[in-house]
Amino acid sequence: MNLHEYQSKFRFADYGIPIPKGKVAHTAEEAYTIAKDIGPPVVIKAQVLTGGRGKAGGVKLARTPEEAQQCASTILGMDINGHEVLKVLLDPASDIQAEIYLGVTNDRAARKPLIMASAEGGMDIETVNRLTPEKIIREHVDPFLGLRDYQIRNLAYGIELPRELWKQFATIAKGLYRCYIASDATLAEINPLIIDGSGNLLAVDGKMSIDDSALYRQPELVEMRDTSAEPAAETEARAAGLSYVKLDGEIGCMVNGAGLAMATMDMTKLFGGSPANFLDIGGGAQADKVAVALRIILADPNVKAVLFNIFGGITRVDEVAKGILDALAEVQVDLPMVVRLVGTNEEEGRRLIEEAAIPNMVSAATLADAARKAVAAAQAS
């Protein structure tokens, strides 16, 4: 789960990190009032959970409250990479002397938290890593020891930070690490951390991602989830305990297990089609779950065929077949469907499907056969 810039920065502030005294506006009128309050010039920034807002025109500078109102009315409602802008953050404009990067993330390979700093702030850190990896100073943190003072000094020294700022930098680095731990973040970054006109450090942009597995112990953060930014189907699926990701293709896929779901998506591509979604219905395949999944798949207008791929391990395939047939009694499906059931009691499962003799449903024995049939059906309809 990702947090907006304003959510991340306000949280950073709770951990002693200096941020601009900004406020969020939902309307242009609100933007006017806020700009008047904090005093121009102000920066107006689109709050969307996607990158590239600067390039898309989602960040503007205003010299007067009137101008702020105008900018906000342009930015609000803007579409940035398919995300509608519903909120803007107004920050007092800063005099930027230098831009630094500071971030904490989970290093999967090292299986430890990693804190990184770079004098090349303002740029996307992945780009810096690709072009000039030596400009990123890295310190792995022992999860039991926490971030040590010497490690912060290593970072400050490595990025050639002026000595008079080391104390401020240490406060910010410690705050960011504490915030990362306390929030169960997978990423907490300040980019850029600027040296402003008065020679102080200030976190002017921030980003946080939270570990979904830890949300059970982060009730405050769960409240911050912005579902307006994600496809409605993904929100609905999450509520039903399904794992769903919308894609651009035409073959709706319903599979048990995440790895098998990905392999099934890949198969449609291999045979000349493309997947409309990732959907893992989890263990078993009870009729009610299959019904919800079917509704979600059918709500996507791009879908031209539905492919069921179920491996019955502990769950018996004949039970799964019954679940699918029961769900079809509940949800009307006019599109062609291909069903592949394999594993425990597969003969019985296939017999049930054949006997039901649903005119727009065919069964397939192998995954390749199923994918081929689904692609052909999608192209024909």
Binding site: N106, R108, A109, R111, K112, P113, E126, N129, R130, D142, P143, F144, I181, D184, T186, D211, D212, S213, A214, Y216, R217, S243, V245, L247, G249, V255, N256, G257, A258, G259, L260, A261, M262, A263, M265, D266, M267, T268, K269, L270, S274, P275, F278, D280, F311, G313, I314, V342, G343, T344, T366, L367, A368, A371
Partner: protein, 284 residues
């Protein structure tokens, strides 16, 4: 021979009285796994499926001499269950539980590095040595004894591959599910080394997916350290970046962890990569 589990496995079930724990314990016993007892705090002294239940792992270990433990407890208690098994001196700990926070797993990793115990998982289907022992949730009857070692980050995709092998009468030494989380106890390289050292394993199937760089590291390890042939499959070629594909660890982040990168790395190491799961038996 096999790896991890066999006829000598003496298994303890943590969470034996829970719905999942009890169901799978029954399946494991039915398969012939030597289950010596279970642990559920507060239910010590009871019996489940003819097996004694203990309050603590320490007490269970002292009474039964278990050498392996499998964990079915809910995510918020699972980390504690792992530490408890570690402290009691269980050699092999298999954690099935899905949804353990990454920060907790990084601490578990740090502790594991200082101990002689091994953890498989979390968020994994467990271990299956056909004809000998089943520890976890893999369906036993889809496998048959043989000479192919299988290691995978996935669950049902593993079953699919194992089943396809069995259908072609290609048996397995041990099927290992290392789990779909970003930080886990045992990785591809650990298992590849064990298969390389296992005299009975002749060939290996590696099933990877998007996210992280473990497949790339495995490719490098195979090229430099292994004599046995490996066939691989990578799921997630059509997965978009930045989206988690079910498993916590299956996500393309910052342009790294793509299926294309992994396949390229495996090919460069001279490893055959199947286009789809059903092609694996042919490539073997």
């Amino acid at each position: 021979m096999a790896i991890f589990v066999d006829k000598n496995t003496k298994l303890l079930v943590q969470g034996i009285t829970g719905r999942e724990g009890q169901f799978h314990t029954e399946q494991m016993i039915e398969y012939g796994t030597h289950v010596v007892g279970g642990v559920t705090p507060g239910k010590g002294g009871e019996w489940v499926l003819g097996k004694p239940v203990f309050d603590t792992v320490k007490a269970a270990y002292e009474s039964t001499g278990a050498n392996t433990s499998v964990i079915y407890v809910p995510a918020r208690f699972a980390t504690d269950a792992i530490y408890e098994a570690l402290d009691a001196g269980i050699e092999l700990i298999v954690c099935i539980t899905e949804g353990i926070p990454v920060l907790d797993m990084m601490k578990v990793r740090a502790r594991l590095d200082q101990s002689s115990s091994r953890l498989v998982g979390p968020n994994c289907p467990g271990l299956l040595t056909p004809g000998q022992a089943k520890v976890g949730i893999m369906p036993g009857h889809i496998a048959m004894p043989g000479n192919v070692g299988v290691v995978s980050r996935s669950g049902t995709l593993t079953y699919e591959v194992v089943y396809a092998l069995t259908q072609r009468r290609i048996g397995q030494t041990t099927c290992v599910g290392i789990g779909g989380d970003p930080v886990n106890g045992t990785n591809f390289i650990d298992v590849l080394q064990m298969f390389e050292d296992d005299p009975e394993t002749e060939k290996i199937v590696l099933i990877g997916e998007i996210g992280g760089t473990d497949e790339e590291k495995a490719a490098n390890f195979i090229a430099n350290n292994m004599t046995k042939p490996v066939v691989a499959f990578i799921a997630g070629q059509t997965a978009p970046p930045g989206k988690r594909m079910g498993h916590a660890g299956a996500i393309v982040e910052g342009g790294s962890g793509t299926a294309a990168d992994k396949i390229a790395a495996l090919n460069a190491a001279g490893i055959k990569v199947a286009e789809h799961p059903e092609q694996i038996p042919e490539l073997l």
